[in-house]
Symmetry: C2
């Protein structure tokens, strides 16, 4: 698609550039300081969980189903928390572990387990290269995706292979083709519901194809980070198929390892992290993690289950979160429509949940837009961050994180983004002609 700037006559384009540059100068003079970079809730939104802090006090019963939460023991997590984790992730409590505050850390340690020790009797991934002419272990990375996922595998020396992300999840034709042919492809990173950053949810067909596709690697693993499983903006949320049920149906439940946490439900960074897997694999993960852990923070687990005793309580609490997030997401969508309708300069997603909007400008624009916004006082997630290695091949994608700023600040930040994309689009059109 052509942008309006590409369609202009030379004279029109010069005039447009002059106008846009003048507006940029005006904005620069205002000395803004706005942040749309981080997927963190606003302080007011965080405050809705404060009452949780009063549920475990000096005079409280500190036991859960007979487990003393105030002393060592109960590595797997307290009974009520495992029950809740099972409801989150669609498995029996026995197929879960409830650990510390970071699901990212559990993801890291689970990949590290496969790397150092292997899984289900297969050789450690770290030994793959030596046995295969130096060929590295690879991971599929639906892109745009979550930079910290890609960072975990990159950190271990695993090669990240981008595959296109679609509105239905990863491009399954491409995924199936790759995993069938290459035994070095050992896993895929998935944020299946309200994906980071597109906000799209995997279709039932995508889930079924992921768990049933033939893979050359016998130890191929799906890292299913269901980070936004209850993070709906509207009463009617996206529906995600139960991946474990689908995997059991396909006869390969060992393929799926699922994660979630309460970080964006109660206190970011101070929540409770979960992992779920098949009976065989969850035992393997527990045995691996026990080398470094006597037991996780059960006091925080207790605080959480007293605040959120079941999934219904979670959903009710999430409706309060949605009241903060919905106007922000709607502001983004409205501002982008207002700024770009009819310009051919941009496409973007309109998620019904999660924490991000994925934005695409013209080819070759994203890094320049990021730099210009920074000059104008608006911080965005670094362009390229949504691709493995920070390398967005078409340099189009920007992740918008609308949750932290006030609606007013967000609105101002989006005005800046719109202006920056327009100026860069016009500059690109001008450069094409030179």
């Amino acid at each position: 698609m052509q942008t309006i700037y590409q369609k202009m006559s030379d004279a029109e384009l010069s005039a447009a550039l002059e106008d846009l540059n003048a507006r940029v100068a005006e904005v620069k003079a205002r000395g803004l300081k706005l942040d749309m970079a981080r997927g963190k809730p606003s302080p007011e939104q965080v405050n809705i969980s404060r009452s949780m802090l009063d549920l475990v006090r000096a005079d409280s019963d500190l036991t859960d189903d007979g487990v003393d939460c105030s002393n060592y023991g109960c590595f797997e997590g307290i009974p009520s928390a495992r029950k809740l984790a099972g409801e989150f992730l669609g498995v029996a409590p026995e197929q879960t572990l409830v650990l510390g505050s970071s699901s990212l850390l559990i993801e890291h340690d689970t990949v590290a387990m496969c790397w150092l020790k292997g899984t289900c009797g297969n050789a450690p991934w770290s030994e793959y290269a030596a046995a295969h002419n130096g060929e590295r272990v690879k991971f599929l990375c639906p892109s745009p995706g979550y930079d910290r996922h890609f960072g975990i595998t990159a950190d271990l020396g695993i090669e990240n292979i981008p595959v296109p992300m679609t509105a239905d999840g990863p491009d399954m034709d491409e995924v199936e083709r790759l995993v069938a042919a290459d035994a070095g492809i050992k896993g895929i990173w998935c944020v299946p519901k309200y994906s980071n950053p597109t906000g799209d949810t995997y279709s039932d067909e995508t889930v079924r194809r992921l768990v049933s596709m033939p893979t050359a690697a016998p130890d191929f693993r799906i890292f299913w980070d269901n980070a936004y499983c209850v993070h709906d903006l509207y009463d009617e949320g996206d529906e995600l198929l139960n991946v474990f049920a689908a995997a059991r149906e396909a006869g390969i439940e060992d393929r799926v390892i699922a994660f979630a946490s309460t970080s964006k439900i109660t206190f970011p960074g101070a929540g409770v992290g979960f992992v779920a897997a098949s009976p065989v694999v969850i035992k393997e993960i527990a045995s691996h993690l026990k080398a470094g852990l006597i037991s996780a923070d059960k006091m925080n687990q207790l605080r959480h289950v007293r605040f959120l005793p079941n999934i219904e309580a979670v959903r009710e609490h999430m409706r309060k979160h949605a009241e903060f997030l919905r106007p922000r997401f709607e502001c983004v969508d409205a501002k982008l429509h207002e700024g770009f309708d009819g310009t051919g300069c941009a496409t973007w997603t309109s998620p019904r949940g999660g924490y991000f909007v994925s934005f695409d400008g013209p080819e070759g624009s994203a890094k320049r837009v990021g730099a210009l916004c920074r000059e104008l006082g608006v911080t965005l997630t670094p362009a390229g961050a949504t691709w493995p290695g920070g390398d967005d091949p078409r340099d189009t994608n920007i992740r918008i994180a609308p949750s932290y700023p006030s609606v007013e600040d967000l609105s101002a930040a989006l005005d800046v983004l719109v202006l920056a994309v327009k100026l860069v689009s016009a500059e690109l059109a001008h450069e094409e002609r030179a």
Copy 2:
């Protein structure tokens, strides 16, 4: 030294065996159920920290020196907690990280960092074997020592080498000889104060020799788990030299990585863990850990620093813990004197802090004593656990953990231990004659 049973005539020994077996039968009939296996505080002792739970409430200020503890960020730990960690470990706050609830996990992840990535520009430890004719990386394990330390290195495929533990710390002649000759020896596990299980504290000379000894490995690391740094039983505690000051003096501060936590200060398993190292190494550790962690649980850090704002407050709180522990340690010592003085059957330590007493029976007795105690309803830490691979070469050592039972139960359990050691000693003397 000979036991009284070895010195007896055959007739005397037969009579003694008959008497001991009769007493064992009596005890068995009582159906006891007592536990001296685990280094965990008693429920009453844990309760002294309950008031901490009221210090972070729904209406509390949730910031620390401007840092919002209720949201993501501040990976290194909140300012007040890093200051406290610095006081614990004898370094500037900038040389610390304050992380989650488990210092064992930080130890695990730090060894894993060296294994996967190397430290200070040296090759990853995982590559050592391939470059040295398959020779494995080795760690020195002062023994008797802490089984979970040995487990971390064993888990990564590192070879654990026991070195004798003395009242002044590891046998430094042996340590110096080993590390000077073998570049594959990459580290040593140390619990320098009130060592687990002997309760002995490293002498100043031991600390100085450890930080200044020549090592064939340029990347030799001391894993300094100062788990009991404030865990004195008496007002006058053991004094441990500041290892970082000594290392700086020796010109090799990068050699030391120190750990501590509040697990046995506030709530076991739900405390706050610290790590300290040289400016170069702490930066390296932070960078490694950031691959899997956005930020640790700062709410729990906040709760802790409000309860324990500085090291003086910690010491005052520890005096309350000592009131629970001191009578238990004194009971152990009295009971062992009462049971064994003049028998030649046992030696043991009399620690002035920490959580354990190290007990040695006659050669070849410990596994049998453990099994017999179990039959009699008393659980001990498995014999051998204090040696790498669970292999106590002389089979003498038993770790006594007196903290959890009431003094009454502890006293009953020690009666059983004394009886079991005597019976096994008499049986050994009898078998010698057969």
